[in-house]
């Protein structure tokens, strides 16, 4: 158990910059997720922590010990691979015992540890089987057991759930989070699934093109995204983002597209200096759950829209609306929208919650104004 510190970590593959200036400090016992699209450098970062890839420059320290260029066996990390990396010539018991045998533990001690971890992972019945006789869920449990059986300083997990079906994944999420917290070992988890990261993480590192975009708690990532990319990557369905122009209409400042006007909150504009943006084009973001739909143009539902597609998901209904040239997705509870038209082409009206509007810089994607209702963690404390 230890804290993990990474300073200005770089990795080049030839001319390709796979990881660019990553700085992370992970506290002891923390569950941290590396989240990003494929090819963003998250797996490379993990492999550098494991020692399977050597950094081009930078520093990695585990528990204050500089391990940057140490071989994997000198780092004392445990790892679960995407395709599990179980040895198919050994039984499940042999697989889990392997790291202990390498460390030349007493046979009785090994048997004790393996059976303890097998009980935790509920794989006691399959200990004598070979990996090819196991289901995907069991394979994954064995791989996690092999990681847990060691007294490692840091656990590393490289998309361990990507081969599981959706139902099993849901179960494993809760279980893994529970195990991580009860074992209390610092864990780094790589995933491209924002839902996994949001539900399990203490903190999330969002990466893109080898760079760290944001390192924060799930709630902070969700409510106060650092960039447009983070905002759209996290959340399902993703945040609606479109081009608007900040304009002064009859003395009031509002965001305007070619087809409609979105009124903005006065206090929020003042706090974020939106007045200075008048005349400029920005990107406006609003999450689907912060757009309400109505069949009448009243009570803040000022944006006329045509229903493009209706997607019921059970508890919630998704309305994909065409507001002139802009397509937006809304999400509202089924009971609230029960009375609304559901036929394609129906005339509806959308209302944007002024408390939940984000503004992003068009080129860099940097967030100019966080939503008025969102709170940073620091303010709460």
């Amino acid at each position: 158990m230890a804290e993990l510190e990474i300073n200005s970590l770089m990795k080049q593959f030839g001319a390709f910059q796979a990881v660019n200036d990553v700085n992370i400090t992970v506290n002891n016992g923390e569950f941290v997720f590396l989240l990003g699209p494929s090819g963003c450098g998250k797996t490379t970062t993990l492999r550098m922590i494991a020692g399977l890839e050597m950094p081009s420059s930078g520093r990695i320290a585990i528990g204050g010990r500089n391990v940057t260029f140490l071989r994997p066996r000198h780092r004392n990390v445990g790892m679960v691979f995407q395709d599990y990396g179980l040895y198919r010539h050994l039984t499940v018991f042999g697989n889990i015992a392997y790291p202990l045998e390498v460390r030349r533990l007493q046979r009785a001690e090994i048997a004790r540890k393996v059976s303890a971890v097998a009980r935790t992972m509920q794989i006691t019945e399959v200990l004598q089987r070979k990996p090819d006789q196991l289901s995907a869920g069991q394979l994954q449990r064995v791989a996690i057991a092999r990681m847990l059986v060691r007294d490692a300083d840091v656990f590393l997990m490289d998309e361990p759930m990507s081969h599981l079906d959706a139902q099993l994944r849901g179960q494993m999420r809760a279980e893994l989070r529970h195990i991580q917290k009860s074992v209390g070992v610092t864990t780094i988890f790589v995933t491209h699934d924002q839902l996994e990261a949001m539900t399990m993480a203490d903190r999330i590192i969002v990466m893109k093109d080898g760079e760290m975009l944001q390192f924060a708690t799930p709630r902070e990532i969700f409510e106060r995204p650092a960039t447009e990319f983070v905002a759209t990557f996290v959340g399902e369905p993703q945040m609606n983002v479109f081009d608007v122009r900040i304009t002064r209409i009859q003395g009031k400042i509002a965001a305007m597209t070619e087809d409609f006007v979105i009124p903005l909150d006065a206090r929020w504009m003042q706090e974020n200096g939106v007045e200075n943006l008048v005349g400029q084009g920005v990107r406006l973001g609003v999450r689907p759950e912060h757009i309400s739909v109505s069949d009448r143009a009243e009570g803040g539902h000022g944006v006329a829209a045509e229903l493009y597609s209706f997607e019921p998901t059970g508890a919630e209904n998704l309305y994909v609306l065409k507001c002139g040239g802009v397509t937006i997705t809304t999400r509202s509870s089924t009971t609230e929208t029960a009375h609304l038209a559901k036929g394609e082409g129906s005339r509806l009206y959308a209302g944007f919650d002024p408390n939940w509007i984000y503004l992003f810089e068009p080129g860099s994607g940097r967030t100019i104004a966080q939503a008025a209702a969102s709170r940073s963690e620091n303010e709460e404390m």
Binding site: A50, L52, R71, P72, R73, M79, D83, Y87, V102
Partner: protein
């Protein structure tokens, strides 16, 4: 339980295909392949006169005259022993060396990797006759003519390309994850290779070794030219003892029995490993 017949039949087992013509083809192939061999083996148990008669004789009283001649008069067991030593040793060395070479080609990306593997393959394409004279001269200079060591070195070199090409493919099929996982678990690279990769590769390595051993066992051209007495192996010995002014068919037959018997036993014993090794990576996804 007489109602059984009226119960719906489970559709899980489709009716077995019974195509009589498949068996016709198979029998035909077997006859074409096996008949000449059978004839030669029969000849081995005939006496000199019977075996060299102008009309083929199918029924005869067996005699061990030819075996007696080969084993006690000519001392063919010495050649047999030479063959065993040469093929075992060259198989061991070529598979061991080739394994590491194949591993490097499969795992590491270095400049000229494709050139190396192509060059290895072209070595195999070269007809042995093309290098017979240079090798003879080299052996003469190095004092390796008619020595077992010379043959072992030569066969090892000859079989290496084959081993490298077979094993490179199999190593590529084994994900790197296995070794990486073992290394993270605390092993050195070599320990990971020995304890994880090799056991997984065992069937493929066995199959390759069997092939190499058969090739070395049967090698004729180089053995004929590079050995005379001390190190003569089975293939040239058979020719020397059975073919002189005329062909002694019964001696040839007996020699064929002696040279093929170990191979047949060997393959029968190891056919499971052979098949599983060759199909590794093909059957699995």
């Amino acid at each position: 339980m007489k109602k059984l017949s009226s119960m719906p039949e489970s559709p899980s087992a489709p009716p077995a295909q019974r195509n009589w013509w498949v068996y016709v083809v198979l029998i035909l192939v077997c006859v074409v392949n096996f008949l000449p061999y059978l004839r030669v083996v029969m000849a081995g148990f005939m006496d000199g006169a019977t075996s060299s008669s102008a009309t083929p004789i199918w029924f005869f009283s067996p005699s061990l005259e030819a075996f007696d001649y080969l084993i006690f008069e000519k001392g063919i067991m010495k050649n047999f022993f030479n063959s065993v030593v040469v093929s075992l040793a060259s198989t061991f060395f070529s598979v061991t060396i080739g394994m590491f070479c194949a591993y490097a080609l499969a795992r590491y990306d270095f400049p000229g990797r494709d050139d190396v593997s192509f060059w290895v393959l072209t070595n195999r394409m070269m007809p042995p006759v093309a290098v017979l004279i240079p090798i003879f001269v080299t052996f003469q200079t190095a004092g390796l003519l008619d020595t077992l060591l010379g043959l072992i070195i030569l066969y090892t070199a000859m079989q290496l390309p084959f081993v490298v090409w077979m094993l490179t493919g199999y190593f590529r099929d084994i994900p790197r994850r296995y070794e990486e996982s073992a290394m993270v678990d605390g092993d050195t690279w070599f320990a990971a290779f020995r304890k994880v990769t090799l056991p997984i590769m065992a069937p493929s390595i066995t199959a390759t070794a069997i092939f190499v051993m058969i090739l070395s066992w049967n090698e004729f051209a180089f053995a004929t030219f590079l050995t005379s007495n001390q190190a003569k192996t089975m293939p040239p010995a058979i020719m020397a003892y059975s073919i002189g002014a005329d062909i002694k068919w019964n001696v040839l037959g007996a020699a064929v029995v002696l040279i093929t018997a170990p191979l047949i036993l060997f393959v029968l014993l190891l056919q499971r490993q052979l098949i599983s090794g060759l199909s590794q990576g093909v059957v699995r996804k």
